[in-house]
């Protein structure tokens, strides 16, 4: 496949196995296109992971992993335990440095050259499995705490929230559908509601890419359904990567599914395609 | 002349008992010159009874019976009736009413003569210690005779310490000799001495007076003295350093003892016990009470006090754990406050039982005194024993924790409580026993403290901040941290003291600790596995 064909493929929105040429680098990253400037997703791809390899004491957690997330996409990552899903998220957020490979956020931000707080500021938000909302604060206060903006003691002491920030809180409350619980203590919420609140806190930062780790573990069926709706509604304006085990949930939200196995991509496609893929069946033993 | 004569005269036969008695009788004479004469005769005779008689005379225990002017020695100068001893035979000679006797008096000059005479006897004694004392005495009253006596002794003296003493003493005298060679030789001899007198003498030779003049006319002698002085100074500071180190170790071992119990309760249970100081105080009071109960066996009382204090403080500790601490599991700050309340109560209880004043605790005989390594460095026994005791306690605890079942269970509970319970370990009991163990050790520390400091209701307060410092510095993951932490803090404290005084030294240590915490917030040996705070 020559370069033109590769580029044509990419522009049509299908990013498959062939490796495109590396995205153009610009001059001074931090001043022109620094983390605070956000990613440049003008080419339709928001996240490039190429040949990422991570080994821990000889064990390869990620093995030449190559993955592309399109802007506005809702992608599900599935795979058996130990496939490397969490490690992949660690690499993206800067918690773990890969031994080889490249990771780019948009066209211009080299994730491997930024540290964790910088990556967070650049627009990548991660929601961990366990909800860690502030139990003693109300829903409103939780969102208020998570609001983007000046977080110094001076600002929080003397400057009230701007109208824009207040609007944003209202918007997020709508999105996560906790408007009726706005004055409730977060600790009193149900498990599902806490997860939504946490997603809401993540949204307050205005991230372009959300990494969501097993969001529906421990939820009731109703909560699971609502979570699916929530995540789907987020796609488009945000890019969402969801790691999950619950296949029904994945089916209900996913357009595109990536199967990881032993540190690299085993298969990619729609849920049906993936479920009928012979290799996937082997690995999952008939799941 | 006198002493030389005595020395050179061979021992006379016992047939001279009569001469002895006659000389003794002469002591009864009122005239002091005659008494001196008598003393000389007694000395010359070298009778077996000579030294005891002269010693008794110095002591004021020689009496003459008014009826027959016979001279006796009494066992005690103040008793009535007097218990008498026959000077010639040294055998008891019955008793006599005090008013039938009159004491033979002495004056300063006579006493000086007596001391010199007795010392010259002692020069020939078998015990090296007695000889050394005799040499010291003779050096105090040097004249040509005694100098000759001592010089002669050098050749005969087998013990190197005694020989050195004599040489130094004579050298000090020789510094005043007219002959320059003699003075130089004296400086040479003194070069190896650690005696402060020697050092001072050399300093006064080498350094000029305020007006710039020197007491020593000869330049060679002055430079030799200067070199000798510097050499001695170097050795003295070396030994001073050793002494500081020893003091530091002894202070450190007190801190270690105080902190071990705290490290155990904090490390295993995450509990900061503010009553820890009071548990030490209880142990110190146990030592006091044991001495009250066994007034005639002070030496044994302190050994008995150790297990008693362990049990008493341990039981109080278990009470505290069962009554207060276990309800506050997982809330370290509340535990801190509640145990502080307990400490207040304990202090007041002790004040009510014993009084608010300090109680006197005696040092047993076997712990008193000191071991002199050399003239610049001596080790007091009580501190030495405390250091050894601390090491023994430390290793004993390590054995308990590492080799016994109890220790195994304690470690299991501290590392993974739910797992330990799942395996059948009764975690609540282990908590109580651990607390009891830590408290018991505090009690034992109190017994050691009773030997080094005042015992009063506030004893705990003095050491609690230091114990915390050791725990914070050493970390609670490993008892070695406590040992190293405590010893280092003690040594550093003592090192700073000469420069800054005890109080400022303490302040510096506290500040340094705050800075150290920057690097290692959990101490030298942090707790691994379970967090130190829940």
């Amino acid at each position: 496949m020559n370069a033109a064909q590769v580029w044509a493929r990419r522009l049509s929105g299908r990013s498959q196995s062939a490796k495109p040429p590396p995205p153009p680098r610009s001059g001074d990253l931090l001043t022109e296109h620094g983390p605070d400037a956000g990613p440049d997703a003008s080419r339709g791809v928001i996240l490039y992971l190429e040949d990422i390899t991570v080994s821990f004491d000889g064990f390869k957690a990620l093995n030449a992993l190559t993955l592309y997330i399109d802007s506005g996409e809702l992608r599900c990552i599935i795979g058996p335990n130990g496939a490397g899903k969490t490690t992949m998220m660690d690499v993206i957020t800067g918690k773990t440095r890969p031994d080889a490979g490249s990771a780019w956020f948009g066209q211009t931000l080299d994730l491997l050259s930024l540290n964790e707080p910088e990556i967070a500021r650049a627009g990548i938000g991660r929601k961990f499995q366990k909800p860690t909302v502030f139990g003693e604060h109300t829903v409103y206060e939780n969102l208020q705490l998570a609001a983007a903006g000046d977080k110094s003691p001076w600002a929080t002491l003397f400057k009230p929230l701007s109208g824009e920030q207040k609007d944003r809180i209202a918007d997020v409350l709508d999105t996560i559908r906790l408007k009726d619980r706005v004055a409730a203590r977060a600790g009193a919420l149900s498990h599902g509601q806490k997860q939504w609140l946490e997603i809401g806190m993540l949204l307050m930062q205005g991230p372009q890419l959300l990494l969501v780790d097993e969001p529906v573990a421990g939820m009731t069926p109703q909560e699971t359904e609502r979570t699916a709706e929530l995540l789907v509604s987020l796609a488009g304006t945000h890019s969402v990567v969801v790691v999950e085990h619950d296949m029904n949930f994945v089916r209900s939200i996913a357009r595109k599914v990536t199967v990881l196995h032993e540190g690299s991509v085993l298969a990619e496609g729609t849920m049906d395609q993936v479920q009928n893929d012979r290799r996937v069946i082997e690995v999952y033993l008939g799941e | 002349m006198l002493a030389l004569a005595v020395f050179l005269t061979p021992r006379v036969a016992l047939a001279d008992d009569a001469a002895f008695t006659a000389a003794a009788a002469q002591l009864a004479n009122d005239d002091f010159a005659t008494k001196e004469e008598a003393v000389r005769k007694v000395l010359e005779l070298r009778h077996t009874g000579s030294k005891p008689l002269l010693a008794a005379l110095l002591d004021g225990r020689v009496f003459v019976r008014s009826s027959d002017m016979h001279v006796f020695i009494a066992t005690s100068g103040d008793a009535d009736p007097l218990e008498l001893i026959e000077p010639v035979t040294q055998k008891p000679a019955g008793t006599g009413k005090a008013d039938e006797f009159s004491k033979i008096t002495t004056n300063n000059r006579l006493r000086k003569t007596l001391r010199g005479a007795i010392a010259s006897f002692d020069l020939g004694d078998a015990d090296a210690g007695v000889r050394r004392a005799a040499v010291k005495e003779l050096l105090r009253t040097l004249d040509d005779d005694t100098m000759a006596l001592l010089r002669a002794q050098i050749g005969k003296e087998k013990d190197p310490h005694v020989r050195a003493d004599i040489e130094q003493g004579l050298a000090l005298q020789d510094l005043k000799n007219d002959d320059k060679k003699v003075r130089l030789a004296a400086v040479e001899t003194l070069k190896n001495s650690l005696n402060p007198d020697a050092y001072n003498a050399l300093v006064s030779i080498a350094t000029p007076a305020a007006d710039g003049t020197y007491s020593e006319p000869d330049q060679d002698v002055r430079s030799a003295a200067d070199a000798a002085m510097r050499k001695i100074a170097k050795w003295r500071s070396f030994y001073a350093g050793l002494e500081t180190l020893f003091f530091g170790l002894s202070l450190g071992s007190v801190l270690v003892l105080a902190a071990i119990g705290l490290a155990i309760t904090f490390g295993v249970m995450g509990v900061i016990n503010m009553a820890h100081g009071e548990l030490m105080m209880l142990g110190a009071y146990c030592a006091y009470v044991m001495q009250l109960l066994m007034p005639n066996h002070i030496g044994a009382s302190i050994i008995v006090a150790v297990p008693v204090a362990f049990v008493v403080s341990g039981l109080v500790g278990i009470l505290i754990e069962r009554g207060v601490v276990r309800w506050l599991y997982g809330r370290p700050l509340e535990t801190l406050l509640a145990t502080f309340g307990v400490s207040l109560v304990l202090q007041q209880v002790v004040r009510d039982i014993f009084s608010a004043n300090n109680r006197p605790v005696e040092t047993p005989q076997w712990m008193a005194g000191s071991m002199e390594i050399n003239e610049a460095f001596s080790i007091t026994y009580n501190r030495l024993y405390v250091v050894l005791f601390t090491l023994a306690v430390f290793f004993l605890i390590q054995i308990i924790l590492k080799r016994t079942t109890l220790g195994l269970k304690v470690r299991a509970v501290s590392q993974n409580r739910p797992m330990a319970r799942a395996m059948g370990v009764r975690a609540e009991w282990i908590d109580a026993l651990t607390f009891g163990l830590g408290s018991g050790i505090a009690g034992v520390a109190g017994v050691a403290l009773s030997q080094l400091t005042n015992v009063g209701p506030n004893l705990g307060q003095q050491y609690i901040v230091d114990s915390f410092m050791v725990v914070v510095f050493g970390g609670v993951g490993n008892l070695w941290g406590t040992l190293i932490g405590g010893m280092s803090l003690g040594v550093v404290n003592k090192l700073l003291e000469p420069y800054s005084g005890a109080v400022l030294a303490k302040i510096f240590v506290l500040v340094a600790l705050i800075l150290f915490i920057q690097r290692r917030p959990r101490g030298l040996f942090p707790q691994k596995g379970r967090a130190a705070e829940h």
Binding site: H137, K151 | G341, P521
Partner: protein, 377 residues
């Protein structure tokens, strides 16, 4: 906890006139009302009512109340960092004492030639110790404004330096508390030394007047009491402002989940530091008002037990609730005054028992008892 949402439909018309920090704070409103009422009453009963009347309040009572009020401010300062930020400071009395010493130094300089030795520059204890001149750090304390500046700066700077080192190294929990105790202990040792130039173990005393007015006069006493009440009220309002602001939310988040707060992007160390410094300054001001009322400042104010007592006042009253700290301070000190008058040997038993019982049975303090009656959101 009060929220920042002040939807006026929830408030009565009265509350609209209150400053924002007080809205929704029923307890605080009550406390301040009681404060104003009491202080006015005491002032009137002392100054306007003749001494022969049964209603007259002695100067002793005025001073006692003034003292309680300074303690209350100290308790508020401790509650601010402990109840709201989780920093259990076992050394706050050090800041109280430092403020007290600053005021004391001013008052000493005011004595001038009226001292025993009659030296216009050197206080008595310096003459006694053969000082030839005033130590450098005493200069400026003859001016009131300078002394007041020091009341704020000395505790503040010390808190800043200490906090900078402690918080930056992420020392938390019991380790932090122990270090604060060590701090006050070190200061205790230092100030006890006679050669430090602060009066040694006798401290500073025999004050004559403040700003030209004699300390002993009734009018002065009442003025000081009123000043203490004012300081308490203003301090309370300032603390309320902080805890009802967004910063207050952050501080509470730090208390509840420090790492999570840091993860969201807040500089936890900065928040702790500034809160600690502010609290230390409040404590210093309390100390500065305390000293002219009790007439002496000595190094025993630095004792660790003093700091721990303050904590128990807050615990008894109810921590995390600012008016609870006030209530606790007054309750416990009143009990202390009563006990030490009637059964002095018992006081320590009572205090010790108080520590144990409050932590075991009243984790939310007296105020918590009252509040459980109310319906929570």
């Amino acid at each position: 906890m009060a929220t920042t949402m002040t939807d006026s439909s929830y408030l009565g018309t009265f509350e609209q006139f209150l400053p924002r920090p007080l809205r929704g704070d029923r307890g605080g409103q009550v406390m301040l009302a009681v404060l104003v009422f009491t202080v006015t009453l005491v002032a009137v009963l002392n100054l306007a009512v003749p001494a022969s009347s049964a209603l007259h309040l002695s100067t002793y009572a005025v001073t006692l109340i003034g003292k309680y009020l300074t303690y209350a401010l100290l308790a508020v300062a401790v509650d601010l960092v402990w109840g709201f930020c989780g920093i259990l400071s076992l050394g706050h009395a050090a800041f109280f004492a430092l403020g007290g010493y600053a005021m004391g130094m001013y008052l000493m300089r005011q004595i001038g030639t009226r001292g025993v030795y009659g030296n216009s520059i050197l206080p008595d204890f310096m003459v006694f110790l053969n000082y030839k001149e005033l130590p450098w750090f005493w200069h400026g304390f003859d001016m009131f404004w300078f002394a007041m500046l020091m009341v704020i700066l000395v505790p503040g700077v010390l808190a800043f330096v200490f906090g900078w080192f402690a918080f930056r190294s992420r020392v938390t929990g019991v380790y932090l508390s122990i270090i604060t105790q060590a701090l006050t202990y070190a200061l205790l040792l230092a100030f006890f030394r006679n050669d430090m130039g602060f009066g040694g173990n006798n401290g500073l005393t025999d004050f004559k007047d403040l700003l030209g007015m004699p300390l002993q006069k009734d009018g002065m006493r009442v003025t000081l009491m009123v000043a203490s009440a004012l300081a308490l009220a203003l301090g309370y309002l300032a603390c309320r402002y902080i805890v009802t602001s967004r910063a207050g939310r952050v501080v509470e988040a730090v208390r509840d989940a420090e790492s999570r707060t840091r993860f969201i992007g807040y500089s936890v160390e900065s928040y702790k530091l500034w809160l600690f410094v502010f609290s230390a300054v409040l404590a210093g001001i309390a100390g500065a008002l305390y000293v002219p009322q009790v007439g002496i400042i000595n190094p025993s104010e630095f004792s660790p037990i003093n700091s721990i007592e303050v904590v128990i006042w807050v615990a008894v009253g109810g921590r995390g609730v600012l008016y609870g700290a006030v209530a606790g301070a007054i309750l416990v000190n009143y009990a202390k005054t009563v006990f030490t008058g009637v059964l002095p040997e018992f006081w320590l038993y009572a205090l010790g028992a108080l520590f144990v019982l409050v932590t075991l049975f009243l984790p939310k303090g007296v105020v918590g008892l009252l509040r459980t009656r109310k319906v929570e959101a």
